[in-house]
């Protein structure tokens, strides 16, 4: 009997601790996953945005579809090779690009910013409204390795959509504007 009683008392003390431990683990996991979500993914080739920006290459030179399509697009291997036939063609990273080109294989770039599947995001209207690339992607031109600087959640989208001329707010905050 006495032993049972001790056990009950002990578990009464243990339970709150256990709950707190689990809670801490969850919080920790959420924080870590945010950290990982905003980390730079490992790319097949160590591409340097900074070098390209310093050479005054416009964003839209390599990502021209942002003007015309939903997605900005990753430049084709042909576009990389087009310039690098004459520029920096002795760099080891550029040689890797040529390896892909000669094998006729696409370069498996890792996406840096991911929108969930239930968001129908399109670059075209944002560029049309005068939003600059840096607004969402940060100053990529100063990053050696590009990484997401904004987690792009719905609150962040709405902050901007609410901060528009009054006549547009109703349209821009409609659910169906992004969730079709």
């Amino acid at each position: 009997m006495g032993q049972d009683r001790t056990r009950t008392v002990r578990s009464r003390i243990l339970w709150p601790f256990l709950m707190i431990a689990i809670l801490l683990m969850v919080v920790f996991a959420v924080l870590i996953s945010r950290q990982i979500a905003t980390a730079a993914p490992e790319q097949p080739i160590a591409f340097k945005h900074q070098v390209h920006a310093e050479a005054e290459v416009e964003c839209l030179f390599c990502h021209p579809n942002a003007l015309r399509s939903d997605i900005a697009g990753i430049p084709s291997v042909a576009r990389c090779v087009g310039c690098h036939q004459t520029i920096a063609n002795d760099s080891p990273n550029v040689k890797l690009v040529f390896d892909y080109w000669e094998r006729n294989e696409p370069i498996p770039w890792q996406a840096v910013n991911n929108m969930p599947d239930f968001v129908f995001f399109s670059h075209q209207p944002h560029l049309g409204a005068g939003v600059t690339c840096e607004t969402c992607h940060g100053n990529v031109g100063e990053m050696v390795v590009v990484k997401p600087i904004i987690s792009m959640d719905m609150g962040w989208c709405l902050d901007c959509h609410l901060d528009q001329p009054q006549e547009n707010v109703a349209r821009l905050t409609d659910c169906l504007a992004c969730h079709k």
Binding site: N65, R68, I71, S76, A78, R79, N104, I107, W109
Partner: protein, 737 residues
Amino acid sequence: MGKEISRRTFLKVAAGAATASGLIPQVRRIALEPFVRPPEEELPGRATWFASTCRQCPAGCGIIVRVINGRARKIEGNPNHPLNHGKLCARGQAGLQVLYNPDRLHNAVRQSGGRGSRIFSPIPWSEALDELTAALQSLRDPQALAVLAGQPSDHLYTILASFLEVVGAPPAVIFDLHTALDGRAECASLSSRWFGEHQLPIYDLAHAQVVFSFGANLLETWMSPVAQSVAYGQMRQSRLGGRGVFVQFEPRLSATGASADEWIPVPPGTEGIIALALGRIIVEENLGRAGKHSDHAHLYRNVSVADAAQACGLPVEELRRLAHLFAETDRPLAIPGGQLTGHTNSKQAMDAVMALNVIMRRLGRHGGVFTPQPVPAERFASPAPTSNLTEILDLVERMRSGDIEIFLIHGANPIYELPAWVGFKEALEEVPLVISFSPFVDETAVQADLILPDHTYLEGWGYQVVSPGADRPIISGQQPVTQPLHDTRSTADILLSLASRLGGAVARALPWEDEAGFLEESSAQLHDNSISTYDARTPAGFWSLWRQHGGWWSKRAIKREPEAVGMPKGAMAVPAAAFQGDKGTYPFHLMPYSSLTLSDGRGANQPWLQEAPDPMTTARWNTWIEINPESARSLAIKDNDMVRVTSAYGSLQAAVVVYPGIRPDTVAIPTGQGHSDYGRFATTRGANVMDLLTPSPAEQGNKFAFCATRVRIEKVGQVKPLARLEDLDGEGRESIR
């Protein structure tokens, strides 16, 4: 040390660790693979739609395929296509799983371990073509080359037919189970008997007021189900004539029967007898508004309505009511086909049904029967015919006796599709060189020496003259919507390169460099045609419009009135259907029916189709047998009980679906499962109903009487729950699972 861990503590720690490991953050990483060389005008993220043709069944519906970044993403019906008007069935939607199927062959292979070994080694295409050319050159007699094809695209058929003709080989045998269960060959021969044209007749379902369908499952699988479903909708919502009436005569309630106003569960094989009795009543009582019937009285001279009533188990009064329903309207229509053609008396039964249209003067009338208007160009004038069982048995006999040295097979899987008694597999063993063009390793390809995989239909070229057509001549055009995913090669291109290697007359008869060149030249035959729905200044522009539209069709409806030149002269009679198996030993009629999703088994390797429930039983992923609740009670079997089904020829096991929509003397099993090969989704699943079929009764000749088998059913004592969405629990209540 010394502190023991109790079982409970261990479980707590284990559960905690599992939970904690679940909390390890996971971030979705996506690889974005750009084009190496982007196609001009390609805009990533924006869809391009290509118009093409569905090849999941021989109907030839027009499709448009959504392509993003060079990858096919979604198939829809082509809204401008005059056959399917933008609609598409489940099988058509699942076509992407043919293209992206993980069990596709990636290159040409030789079965290096011998036939049936399933040990394949890749071979270069040049080697495969060299071998095929050498084999053709060393052929003693061109008659020793045989080809079997399953409803090929018409461009392949045309190239194949000229190739065989100029080489001196016999014409290709065209057979697949799907069209056999439709009764396609029977329907074409009905048309040639009555109208002198070996083309499938067109039934104007959309404008009929009363439709009697004798066995034709026209909303699920028969002939052109999408076009027929569109027409059915129009018939039901007719603006002028009100809602059309639809009566379905069949022993098992199909989704078509369920959509009808009346389902008449006739005893198997008596459909023709009923049609004859209805005709007799109409003529005798001079029913209808189509004038006197005295011209046709002789057809029904020997028909006794009382005898017919007894044979089909319907009271004479009921037959009279049906005859009045059919005749006392302006636009009745009778359609024969489907499982009616699987009986030994199908020829006479089809005659009896067609006679109803003739006595009501429905030939060439609005809502009646038409013959197709041919496409006004020589290249498209003779679409692929369908062979009957006699031609197949003849082929098997020639193979067995060693007359065939090279056997080529494309688009059919006869070892799986034909009943075992045909002996196709054994006959194939006698052929020294067997070459399959299947993109998949199916049961027949496993018995081949070489497999030279064709493209799937979303990667290849082609065209199909739509038959049975809609209200106008139509050619459905097929074009690649994506680059070939693997190192496959079009069979038509293989034939063209063989021709150029063989040289001489063969090369002259088939001068095209590739199939796209052949198609472009063919399309030019319709350039500047007055009935064309579009036209261009140059043939090249016309070819470009052809690809944009997804084929060619007439701008307005052209219907042609058939002439009943071959109408029976004397009295008609429909003999009782003969069945194999003694009624005492084998008490049930077996009705194999074409699966809505898997068709004749070709859909079994597509998981979307395996997952799609049968509309009547909601069963999927397996083979089942449908039994009437009354019969199930007498055998003491319930839903999901495994039973052994035995015919005089073979046996199989299947799970039971107790189904009120079937006659107590009939059981039904869908086709499509029970594959031993054909990829991971198709194999080790269910049983093949064709294993039960018995040869036709000797006196009936070589008729493919797929409904003439009797079976018995025994409980095996196992229960295997079927994956069903819902079932009838026997109390008449539906329970959702």
